[in-house]
Amino acid sequence: MNLPDVIHWLTHTPVNSIVMGYRWVWPISESLHFCGLAMMVGTVGLFDLRLLGLAKGIAPAALHYSLRVGIAGFAISVITGSLFIFGQPDQYFYNDAFKLKVVALTLLGINVLAFYTLEARRVLRLGPEDEAPVRAKWIAAISLSLLTLIMLFGRMLTFYRP
């Protein structure tokens, strides 16, 4: 199955009919997409800032609990983002900004994996006043940079529309 076939299949699904058939589905999905982004960036970003030395006085474990809200936000963004792809697949699959956004999301996933594999156990034992290990700081800085790039490429989608 090549890309045109995938696009053809997506545009003939019931989901496509719903997304494109009702005027309010797209605006509501966009609103939820941004709310999900805010939930994710707010909780993950604050955790990253703590690891970088801002918000000292809060134990990283206390902020780590808030990441559940960030995961919920990410899930909302993925679901609504999928609706956009079902709605207008050609606008995304042939869009360089979308490809870069997917790359940045993948790198963010790898970065999260690196955090939980290499640093989570040490970081979650830190006290409110403790400094995060250097490697954890790098992971936090990369996380913030990738979140910024995801927003950048997301905003460029319209500009690079085929």
Binding site: W26, P27, E30, S31, F34, C35, L37, A38, M39, M40, V41, G42, T43, G45, L46, F47, L49, G53, L54, A55, K56, G57, I58, A62, L63, Y65, S66, V69, P128, E129, L147, T148, M151, L152, G154, R155, M156, T158, F159
Partner: protein, 169 residues
């Protein structure tokens, strides 16, 4: 009178440049800056609210000055980028009631963030003691208000009655 002013504003070189500059560094980049400002202000504010809602006691001195600076920098970026977007399409925004609702929600969100920062982190340090019910209510309100600001911000693209002021003539 107002329409003439909007027409004049739309025809200024700055407005035309923002709208028509054929590069990713023009209008799309300003949109990105507006989203970045939202992330730094609204999203971090929501992050603090979510954390506060789970706290019963703040026992140690928090040094939040850095985070609060990030939030105010976000507000500055949002204000400047928002002004640029307004200059690009003044009639589109100013004739849309949703725009005023968004502005109101942003003002409320900033007020709630300022109130929480002042009560819980005066001068960037935490007030040691219990997190009061009133603070938690402000945190809850802040989340709702920022969600409203985000939603109305997105809906601006779908609710305008005119794009340019000459359509009003």
């Amino acid at each position: 009178m107002l329409t003439s002013l909007l027409v004049w504003l739309e025809e200024t070189p700055l407005s035309v440049w923002i709208r028509e500059y054929p590069s990713v560094l023009g209008f799309p980049f300003i949109l990105f800056l507006h989203t970045l400002g939202l992330a730094m202000l609204a999203a971090i504010s929501v992050g603090i609210d979510v954390w506060l809602l789970r706290q019963h006691v703040i026992g140690r001195a928090l040094r939040m000055t850095g985070v609060i600076r990030v939030m105010w920098l976000g507000l500055g970026i949002n204000a400047l980028s928002g002004l640029a977007l307004l200059i690009a399409y003044p009639a589109k925004a100013l004739t849309n009631p949703v725009f005023y609702l968004k502005l109101l929600l942003v003002v409320l969100g900033v007020y709630a963030a300022q109130r929480i920062n002042r009560e819980v982190f005066p001068r960037g340090l935490a007030v040691t003691g219990a997190v009061t019910v009133a603070t938690k209510r402000w945190a809850m309100l802040s989340i709702v208000v920022w969600a409203g600001a985000v939603v109305t911000g997105r809906l601006l693209a779908y609710t305008q009655s005119v794009l340019f002021a000459y359509e009003l003539l």
